[in-house]
Amino acid sequence: MGAEGAGWLQARGLTKAYGGVLALADATLELRAGELRGLVGANGAGKSTLVKILTGMVTPTRGEVLVGGRRLRLGRPQASLAAGIASVPQELEIAPGMTVAENIMLGHEPCGRLGRLRPLELRRAARRVLDSLSLPIHEDARAGELTLIEQRLVMIARALSRDARLVIFDEPTATVSPLEVELLLRTVRTLTDRGVAVLYVSHHLGEVERICDAVTVLRDGRVVAELPGEQATHDRLVELLVAGTGRRQSAREARSEPGVVILSARGLADERLRGVDVDLRAGEIVGVAGLVGSGARELLLALAGALPHRGRIQLGAQVLRPGSTPAAVSSGVAFLPGDRSLGTFPSSSVRHNVSLSSLPRHAAGPFVRARRERAAVASVLRRVGLSARPEQRIAELSGGNQQKALVARAVASEARVLLLDDPTAGVDVLTRPEIHAQIVSLARAGAAVLLVSTDLEELVQLSDRILVLERGAVVDELRGPNLTPALVLAAMTRSRLQPSPTEKEVPR
């Protein structure tokens, strides 16, 4: 162990470049044993890169990590594990068919000679770990039958059973109900009481403010602040996260009042959504803000007909059949995902990609009228400013141009309702404003637009009003010319653990 006062873990000058882009630049992190450190940052700030370097999943371009005074071999998950660094990832890596005990001891099962498993020993060791965390979970239970939070607690137990000295949590409370959050936070505290250091990565600034001893703030790949717990207030963190992004010129000009209600949804509910009402008017862009697990994506998918749900969606005079995308698309709903694996048909041509949702209009009986289709596609490509050859495979285009092709599909389908899911994710900075301009022009032409985006600046720039979702319900609605990313972030992260302030008015 290192000298008294020095950190148990010292990471210095960690830098990671992907191509020419710095995901992490000269980051420094020092953790003491038993410390509970928060790590916050906007999307793309470098949080996950830092975490992946520590767990050995990513090899940094430069920099070194000392654990207990010894140099850690970087880029080797086994070396990180052996040094006592464990992580509880956001996506669970649990084996659902195995018992809790088997999951906890996975990879370091107590063995006899010739690798013979000692099941009694295994169960006892697992029980000891569970008891030490005072977890009310039976070691013989099947892991797949546990609740999500219990599975996450099993992952914590697994980390501890490996004598972990540092446990990294990545968004541990996403998709977890308030009561369960308390259980999880208590378990985290048990860890630190036993001298284990915890790195707590979370968007829920309220939680971070409440439980962390200190907070490291990342922005654009750099450590911009390291605050002791008492200074790490919600407001101060928000300020640091979005500093420099300030208020932006809106991408839209002042417009006339929105038109009639085109789409109206009442009481949308499923596993994640808890009774959401939305009205979308012609010419209106409505933003949806919410953390991972808030139900923002589910709302979008439900409206697109891609999610079975309760509640009622009405489009004009027509009530949509729930959970049917063909019904939604044929009544004029278009879904535009930013994740292109949800949008493109990689081995098909640009033309086929663009015309897919509007084929019935180009068809005579069962046959596609190729000439009409070609003409329509050519005109739509011109309109969105994509100069690719229509017969080219879409996979040959750059990410930004693929995204434009998807915009072209939405334009071609003459949709009345446009559902956008992070529409500029992974799009280069030059194409971004072009796509924004297309979205605005579609709204101006009378479409109703619902925009879900993790990019708060985009949300503020494009939206007429912003719905804030939390735990599957609309908790706030923001509007007004003085909207900033900071205000939206503050509304999104105001933790449900504290009574929310009654005064939520946004300055107009």
């Binding site: 063909p326 698309v329 048909f345 990689p346 897919l356 069962p366 046959f367 141009n401």
Partner: protein, 334 residues
């Protein structure tokens, strides 16, 4: 605006280069090249026997059953599913068609209709199991295949029987302008499916479902209906294949379709190269069937033992699919 246009033009050159690359062209036409190479080789080796109209006719006629089956399989592979029941379904359809003739004295036309209907019904069962019951197609079609065989054996009581209507047997003996009717039927089916997949809304939807099912659903493609129809089409081709088999054998024998499953898939995989290694296509499958047929005939003519045919077919398939797989891996790394 002009600067924007120039910037957008940037990604084009790579695509242009890719299009003209000699290597990619060679890969694309490798099936055709293999076909021509085999043709030249056997023609040179046995000009007297191989290079004759009679032989060409025989290869086309013999390949017709496999051809029809392989085209049905192509549709299933195009939507990125599997149908392991085609051989069993062909057996059921053959039994159903022949038994109404032999036991109930129905005519040839009715027998053909019954065979097609039996195939379509089995295909419908496959489609519903896969699309609506969400059973993985591998398992669903094995189960349906097993049930189809059970029904087949129940109908026929595991017997070989004759007594087919003479006009039914003419399906296999008729020639039109010197070309066997069975070969014409196979060619017609190929043409029909070519048109279906290339020019119809259904063809586009099926291609989209195979390419990216999630994206297809979000784009409003009725994914379930597309899948069901694909399995029904495959069932229909199995029914038709059964007619072509039983009419030439002049008798029914149990499990007549079992030998066709692997060659049908082999042909479709051979045809993959013609779709740029990305897409199963009717023309490729058709050519694949003919290549396999030519190899069988040629090797037999060269007095090779019959196992060499199996060996060479297996090797050809491994080489073809490995080539595609390697290239795909390269494409990811690019």
């Amino acid at each position: 605006m002009s600067t924007a246009t120039e910037r957008r033009a940037a990604p084009l050159p790579r695509a242009e280069r890719g299009r003209l690359s000699a290597r990619r062209l060679a890969e694309r036409w490798s099936l055709v090249l293999a076909f021509l190479a085999a043709f030249v080789f056997f023609s040179a080796a046995r000009p007297d026997a191989f290079l004759t109209w009679d032989n060409a006719r025989a290869i086309l006629d013999d390949s017709s059953v496999l051809c029809v089956l392989a085209i049905g399989v192509t549709v299933i592979l195009l939507i990125n599913e599997f149908d392991l029941s085609v051989g069993f379904v062909a057996g059921l359809a053959g039994a159903a068609g022949v038994s109404v003739m032999a036991f109930h004295g129905w005519g040839a036309g009715a027998a053909v209709a019954v065979a097609l209907a039996a195939g379509a019904a089995a295909g419908l069962a496959n489609g519903v199991a896969v699309a609506y019951l969400r059973i993985p197609s591998f398992i669903a079609t094995l189960a349906v295949g097993s049930i189809a065989t059970a029904i087949e054996l129940a109908i026929t009581r595991t017997a070989i029987f004759e007594g087919l209507s003479p006009s039914y047997l003419e399906i296999a003996t008729t020639r039109v302008a010197g070309v066997p009717l069975r070969a014409i039927i196979a060619g017609g089916v190929a043409l029909l499916f070519l048109v279906l997949l290339r020019t119809t809304v259904y063809g586009r939807h099926a291609t989209a479902v195979g390419d990216n099912p999630t994206a297809a659903r979000l784009a409003g493609v009725p994914v379930e209906r597309v899948k069901v129809l694909a399995f029904v089409l495959a069932g229909l081709t199995a029914g038709l294949a059964a007619v072509l088999v039983t009419s030439s054998g002049a008798q029914y024998y149990p499990n007549l379709g079992t030998g066709y499953l692997l060659p049908a898939y082999a042909a479709a995989f051979l045809g993959l190269s013609l779709g740029g290694g990305l897409r199963f296509n009717v023309l490729g499958s058709y050519l694949g069937v003919l290549l396999l047929g030519m190899l069988t005939t040629g090797l037999t003519m060269m007095n090779q033992p019959s196992w060499t045919t199996q060996l060479v077919q297996g090797l050809v398939l491994v080489v073809a699919v490995a080539g595609i797989a390697l290239r795909r891996r390269g494409a990811v790394g690019r």
